[in-house]
Structure formats: structure tokens, C-alpha cells
């Protein structure tokens, strides 16, 4: 069985390979072999637990990018019913890297936004690895405005390396598309629940990635810049990305410590990709309970609290 192995998982992968070989031998029905398999299984499980309970920030970044990690579309398919996708920016193109949909979660009608990474090479080519073009963010903004008009809460899934870099994206106003989302999302008179499920890369993530609640999956990251780009700019050595990941304070726990995230949803042992159903269910519960809490707020109070929440972010001195 071929596995996608992240660097820090190599010891684990070696044990697993050994376990696989033993299992192939099991047909011989040696009693010792069965016991050996049992012991090794426990060992693998314990090692996985040990590894994942103390992942470094850089290891978390790798986990957040795991190709089998559940994506926005997996959450939507599992948690939501009556999904009607909205497409297009009404001016240039429909960007498949961004999902905008009307959907129902536990009886609540909402607008769902999300970055849509693919799982296969073909999907990723089509969806640009979840990197939005300006027209994708403008589609998301259509969703924000419709939610505002109809009074539907917004649930947003954050999972992108960043906004799409490129000539076309720049020429069609990537910066403008992002800032207009920020201005709109800060002002909508409906609850906004954002969930970091994987990568949270810079402005492309933030454009749909803040609100009245920020929920982070345990191994998701959210950062002002990808560790690789940070290393390339600050120290001109991309192989020091791990060091940058540690410096940038980008893990779920860092975000809670900084007062930016409200809640961490624990992942199954070995990461969300090892038990997507469990991870998705846990996220679903967290989202619904956030929606429940926020639905009691008056719109005026909600918008005011969201503004105060944003306004309070930052550390500085010399107040005068």
C-alpha cells in the first residue's frame, strides 16, 4: 500500500511498512506472527499519537496540506443539505477555486463560502490549488451581499495557500477584490462563522476568513505569509521555512493565544485525513453551536461587536 509520507512521519511510515509486510505473511498462521502484528499495531498507534501530539508548526503546515485532508467540498457534502451553488462574478468569469452556495446545516439556512482545493492533479489544475482569482473573490462577495439582504448567516471554510499570483489576477485587480471583500464582510448584518480547515494563506484567506467566530482545526494554520515566502524574503533561503513557521505564530494554538481564534477543534489521531468523517462531524458541531450562539444577537449588536473585535487586534505602545 502506497502512502503519501510527510518528512516527519518517516519513522512511522517505516513501522507501517513493516506491519504491512507482516500482514502479508499472516496467511501462514504462525501464532508468534499474530502477536507480533498486534504489538506492532499498538506501537504504530502510539508513535502516531506521540508524533501528532507534539507537531512542530512546520509539521502542522505539512499536515494542513496533506492531499487526503478533507476539503471545503467534503464538509459541504457531509454537513449541508439543499446545497445550491452560486456561480460567477457577473462581469468576467466563474472561478472554480471559490465556492459560494446557499445551504442548510442542522435546519439553519446559510450562505457557505470556501476555498476549493482539488484532490487530484486535474482538479487542482482546474481549481488553481484553491487560489482565488479576483473574479472568485467577487463571486464570494455576491454571496456576502445576498446573505446580508436575506438575513442568512455566513459560514466560511478557509483553505488556500493564498490569492492566485499572476499577471491576469493582478491586471483584474486582485488587491481590489480582496479589499472589497474585507469591507463587505466586516459590515454584513448577519452572523459570520469562519473555519480554518487547512491552509490559511495571507490576503487570499483573509478575504473570506474572519467574522464573529474563528474556529481552527487543530493542525490548520493561518499566516500573514507562507513560511516559504517568508524565508525567501527574510533570509533568502527557502529551506529555512520550518524556522519561519515557528516564528510566524501561525498554529491554531498561536491564534488562540493571540486572541484571534475562539476555538480549536481537535483532530483525530494522525490528522483529519485519517478519519475525515470524525473530523467533519466535529467541525459541524462547532459550527452549529457558534451559529446557535450568534443567532440570538440583534443585527446592530452583532455588527458592533464584530467591529470591536477587529478594532481590538494589535499590540502597540505609546498610546497618545
Amino acid at each position: 500500500m502506497k502512502r503519501y509520507v510527510m518528512g516527519f512521519e518517516r519513522p512511522l511510515a517505516e513501522l507501517e511498512s513493516k506491519l504491512d509486510s507482516l500482514k502479508e505473511l499472516e496467511v501462514s498462521e504462525e501464532p508468534d506472527l499474530a502477536r507480533e502484528i498486534e504489538e506492532l499495531t499498538v506501537e504504530v498507534d502510539e508513535l502516531r499519537g506521540t508524533l501528532y501530539s507534539a507537531l512542530s508548526p512546520w509539521e502542522k503546515v505539512q499536515v494542513s496540506r496533506h492531499p487526503d485532508r478533507p476539503r471545503t467540498q467534503d464538509y459541504v457534502a457531509a454537513l449541508f443539505t439543499d446545497v445550491v451553488e452560486l456561480r460567477g462574478d457577473r462581469a468576467f468569469r466563474d472561478d472554480p477555486a471559490v465556492l459560494t452556495a446557499l445551504a442548510t446545516v442542522a435546519g439553519r439556512r446559510v450562505v457557505v463560502l470556501g476555498h476549493r482545493k482539488g484532490k487530484t492533479a486535474r482538479e487542482n489544475a482546474e481549481r488553481n490549488f484553491g487560489m482565488a482569482h479576483p473574479e472568485g473573490l467577487r463571486k464570494a462577495r455576491r454571496g456576502m451581499r445576498l446573505a446580508d439582504k436575506l438575513g442568512l448567516p455566513i459560514v466560511s471554510f478557509i483553505d488556500t495557500p493564498g490569492a492566485s499570483p499572476g499577471v491576469g489576477a493582478e491586471e483584474r485587480g486582485q488587491a481590489w477584490a480582496i479589499s472589497e471583500c474585507l469591507a463587505t464582510l466586516s459590515s454584513v448584518r448577519v452572523p459570520v462563522v469562519a473555519v480554518g480547515i487547512g491552509e490559511g494563506g495571507s490576503g487570499g484567506a483573509l478575504a473570506i476568513g474572519f467574522g464573529d467566530r474563528l474556529i481552527m482545526l487543530e493542525h490548520a494554520y493561518y499566516s500573514v505569509i507562507t513560511p516559504e515566502s517568508c524565508a525567501s524574503i527574510l533570509v533568502r533561503e527557502t529551506d529555512r521555512a520550518g524556522e519561519m513557521a515557528a516564528s510566524l505564530a501561525l498554529t491554531a494554538q498561536d491564534l488562540v493565544d493571540l486572541g484571534l481564534a475562539d476555538e480549536i477543534v481537535g483532530e483525530p489521531r494522525g490528522g483529519a485525513h485519517r478519519d475525515p468523517e470524525a473530523a467533519i462531524g466535529d467541525v459541524g458541531r462547532a459550527v452549529v453551536s457558534a451559529l446557535d450562539a450568534l443567532s440570538e444577537r440583534e443585527a446592530d449588536a452583532l455588527v458592533e461587536e464584530r467591529y470591536e473585535r477587529l478594532r481590538s487586534i494589535g499590540e502597540f505602545t505609546g498610546v497618545g
Binding site: 456561480r87 457577473r90 472561478d95 439582504k149
Partner: protein
């Protein structure tokens, strides 16, 4: 809630009863035969009606009358027509080509309609809405004073009763025989949609073949959610005029619903048999903050 319930919930989605497409049609119509524009296959009226005027061989979506369209959209027996008597006059005494008065009379006789749009109150999947459908047989479903008036009144009634609007649209454009009175219907209908929108109410447009000209450039493109039928042509300027006035080569699928979807103008291309259910799903969301329904 246990995890498995999340997955189970997906199968509990409400299903809507199949629409009775033949509603309101005569037995005579069921006996007549039609040739598919797409593949040439011959169908008898009954087969055609049962199949929502979609060719069973090539899936070409043939034109539907406004009555057939309404029947295909709404819950059986719920449609109550409004403003049924409204019809355009001949304010300019327009006689170029076939005189307008003759055209109007012929269209009325041929279609049994008074104008190119049918509007009423109905429920779709149980949800009340103002529903309308245009009829291309009526002078190319062009918009003159009466069509504009019926559209504006539909949105005003919906605003007053806090209801969503669902329109199935087809049109060759503004009705040139009414000159500037027709052009101004674009502003008039857009103004009515804008008020309905500002009142926090929802609007679904279903664009069918062809949706062009002044109707496309007014109320047809102001919906919250825009569906289109497969292969429908959707655009402002017609391909012939573009070829005549520019030297551009038109792309193969120019102005097709599918191309307009890729270009970001349409939310979804939905085949005809799925439209009623899709609209019903949408109406669950397109209710105003206060829950909607009549304020009376």
C-alpha cells in the same frame, strides 16, 4: 448529534412531486405532431408534452408556451393569473413591415394570450411566489408597454405582499413597434426590480432560449439567482448584428447558456425536468428576514 446523523440528514431532503406538464392543455394539442429543431425527430403532442417539450432523442429543449411553462414550474392547481387582460395598444400606428395592429391581433389569436407574458400568484414546492413566464410565439416575446407594465406590477405586488418573484424569461428584445415607449420599459421594469430588491426580497430568473436584447438588458439580469436552460442563447446584441457590424469571428458556443456560465453571468444551467425542484430549493432561501408572506 452523532456523526452518522450528519450523513443521514442528506437523504432526508425534501423531494417535490413531479410537475403535471400537461395541465391546461387540450386533447387536440396532444394529437398534433412536432418536429424537433435539434435532430428532426417527429413527436406527437402528447409525447412532447409528457416530456416537457424536450426531445427524447437529442435532449434539445424546444420552446414552451407560457402556459406550458407555468404548468411545468408551479404546484398543480395553484396558479392564479393576474392582469390577464392587459395588452398593448398601437400608440405609434406602426405600419412598417406587417402593421403592428395586425401583428398583435394575429399573436392574440394564435396563442390565446393577450400579451407575451403570463403572470400570477402560485406556490412552487409549497412556497408562495409571484410567477411569470414569457411566450416567444407572441411577437418574439418582445417587451412593449403591456409586458413592461405586467412585469412592473408583478414586482410591485411581490413587494407589497413580501413575496419572492420567479420569472421564466424568453425574449427577442424590446418591441420596436412601440418605439421609445418600449425602450423605457427597460428602465421601468428595472426600477421595480430595484425596489423589490431593496425591500430584501428574492428573485429567481430562469433564462430560456432565446433571451436577448432589451429584456436581457433589464429585468432578466437583475435576479439574485439566475438559472438557464441548456443551449439557451443569452445575450444583448444578436450574433447577426455582431457579424455585420464587426469583423469578429464568433466563438462556436457564443452566447450559449453554458458559455455565459463560464463567463460568470449565470449561476447554473439546469435541464428542464429539474428546474421546478431547483426553484423550490431556492425559494427556501429567498425569503426575507421577517419571514415573508403578505403583510396584509
Amino acid at each position: 448529534m452523532p456523526v452518522r446523523d450528519w450523513f443521514k440528514a442528506r437523504d432526508d431532503r425534501r423531494r417535490y412531486a413531479p410537475v403535471n406538464a400537461a395541465q391546461g392543455r387540450s386533447e387536440a394539442a396532444r394529437g398534433a405532431w412536432h418536429k424537433c429543431d435539434g435532430c428532426g425527430r417527429i413527436m406527437y403532442g402528447g409525447e412532447r408534452a409528457d416530456n416537457l417539450c424536450v426531445c427524447p432523442q437529442c435532449e434539445h429543449h424546444m420552446a414552451m408556451s407560457a402556459g406550458e411553462r407555468i404548468a411545468s414550474l408551479v404546484d398543480p392547481g395553484t396558479f392564479q393569473e393576474i392582469d390577464e387582460g392587459l395588452t398593448s395598444r398601437d400608440p405609434l400606428q406602426f405600419t412598417a413591415g406587417t402593421p403592428y395592429a395586425e401583428k398583435l391581433a394575429g399573436a392574440r389569436e394564435r396563442t390565446g394570450l393577450n400579451e407575451a407574458i403570463l403572470v400570477g400568484k402560485a406556490t412552487i414546492g409549497g412556497a408562495p411566489a409571484i410567477v411569470g413566464a414569457m411566450d416567444f410565439r407572441f411577437i418574439g416575446a418582445s417587451m412593449g408597454s403591456a409586458v413592461g407594465e405586467k412585469v412592473a406590477r408583478a414586482f410591485e405586488l411581490a413587494t407589497a405582499e413580501r413575496l419572492p418573484v420567479v420569472l421564466a424569461i424568453a425574449s427577442g428584445g424590446a418591441r420596436m413597434q412601440e418605439g421609445m415607449l418600449s425602450l423605457m420599459q427597460m428602465a421601468k421594469t428595472s426600477a421595480a426590480v430595484a425596489r423589490h430588491d431593496a425591500a430584501g426580497l428574492g428573485y429567481v430568473a430562469v433564462l430560456t432560449h432565446p433571451t436577448t436584447g432589451g429584456v436581457t438588458a433589464s429585468f432578466a439580469t437583475l435576479a439574485d439567482v439566475t438559472l438557464a436552460e441548456p443551449g439557451a442563447r443569452v445575450g444583448f446584441t444578436g450574433p447577426r448584428i455582431i457579424e455585420q457590424t464587426t469583423s469578429e469571428k464568433l466563438p462556436k458556443d457564443f452566447q450559449s447558456a453554458e458559455s455565459m456560465l463560464a463567463h460568470g453571468m449565470i449561476d447554473e444551467v439546469v435541464s428542464r425536468d429539474a428546474i421546478a425542484a431547483r426553484v423550490a430549493s431556492l425559494l427556501r432561501y429567498l425569503v426575507p428576514r421577517d419571514g415573508g408572506g403578505s403583510v396584509a
